[in-house]
């Protein structure tokens, strides 16, 4: 099967204006993926499905991934000319920056007819709050129907063009997106005999304020 780069090149030839990036996977599986820009995503998906050399007729797995903004410290070496006129010094400068926050949807595509795969494609939302639209691939692969609903339910990605985008696992009136990294679940820690760490901190709210009561069993 073609590599991700080859597929990208072929796709760029076919869809000249499309944004297609190869996202490298640093892991041992080295399964690189194609990041598709929203405007062309569905057309590209359909091409991938119908292209005779690829024929990715099965969309096996649809996943959401939450990438909140993360502080990254880049260490850059900067050459600073010595004001005293000496030789320029090389000092390390630490630049803090925030990675952009976005939600990502990952599709694993396989070909049953030609028995190859996977080709991994990804789409990304603009941010995590108001630009959460990505095109739905359900019109291309029916198997995305429930899985995209699940991503919508748990991550809050809104799939435009999905025929029936409702919450699927949580109830309809639920307001949160529980799979996001910053989700805080409701407090019901009033009986936690074996709490740890974060749970301990939350459970303590329910304990009486007796400081360091003697252990009864000792």
């Amino acid at each position: 099967m073609e590599t991700a780069e080859q597929i990208r090149d072929r796709l760029l030839a076919r869809f000249p204006g499309a944004e297609i990036t190869v996202v490298t996977n640093p892991g041992l599986s080295a399964q690189h993926s194609l990041l598709l820009g929203s405007p062309h995503a569905r057309a590209i998906a359909q091409f991938l499905r119908d292209d005779p050399t690829l024929r990715l007729d099965q969309c096996s797995n649809v996943t959401g991934v939450d990438w909140p903004e993360k502080e990254i410290i880049d260490t850059v070496k900067v050459t600073v000319p010595d004001p005293a006129g000496g030789p320029p010094k090389v000092i390390e400068q630490k630049n803090k920056r925030l990675t952009p926050a976005y939600l990502e949807v990952v599709y694993h595509l396989y070909s049953i007819a030609l028995r190859h795969g996977p080709v991994v494609i990804r789409t990304r939302t603009g941010n995590r709050s108001d630009q959460v639209d990505v095109p739905s691939l359900t019109p291309v692969w029916r198997s995305c129907e429930f899985q995209e609903r699940e991503v919508f339910d748990l991550f809050g990605v809104s799939f435009s063009g999905h025929p029936d985008l409702r919450r699927i696992l949580m109830w309809d009136g639920f307001k949160d997106y529980p799979m996001r990294k910053d989700y805080v679940d409701p407090d019901d820690y009033e009986w936690e005999p074996t709490p740890h760490d974060e749970v301990l901190a939350r459970a303590k709210v329910h304990y009486p304020a007796t400081p360091a009561a003697p252990e009864p069993k000792a």
Partner: protein, 214 residues
Amino acid sequence: MPEDAAPALTTAERDELRRQGILLTSISELYNWGRSNSVWPLNFGLACCAIEMIAASMARFDIARFGSEVFRPSPRQADLLIVSGTVTKKMAPQVVRLWNQMPEPKYCIAMGACAISGGPFKQGYNVLKGIDRFIPVDIYIPGCPPRPEALLHGLVELQKKIRGEKLSGPGAPRHLQPDNDCTYPVPEFGEHDLEPPRNPAVWQPPILTRPDKA
């Protein structure tokens, strides 16, 4: 029998009362014997433990020996609610509703860690931390999942409990107390959690004291 309430009884009256007591005792014995030997569970499986519950009704373990193989699919004909598995917050209202639909006298077994406390899934955002937050539970069977034998043991314990019940007096079971309509409020879906998240009339955990760990 409120004995201290009638201090001025003659011996004859006392004997009469005792005789009634004996009659009452044998009636209550028959009553309890019948109920304890004909516990029909609701055909209601939730998760993994349901498979062990089914296994308990299968040939190897055969819950029928205790007269309990009649798994009724309709709550109207069931005596026992085996909460066999994780009760999620989405499912909790239906479980409470089923419990309300069952006719008294009814019993509840919380089978497995999830039904008791949420078990391994208790940290989950959609998992109810124990069905006893909403309905009264008679027998707790720990295990994940409990073996079918453990369920049978729980059933035997429940039979013991039923046989020990008294027909009258302050120790009478829930269904024989006159001012009890035996319905439990069904929680509703809220924006973040169930509303209310617990039924304080049923769920009364003891206060935990713990020295500061850190």
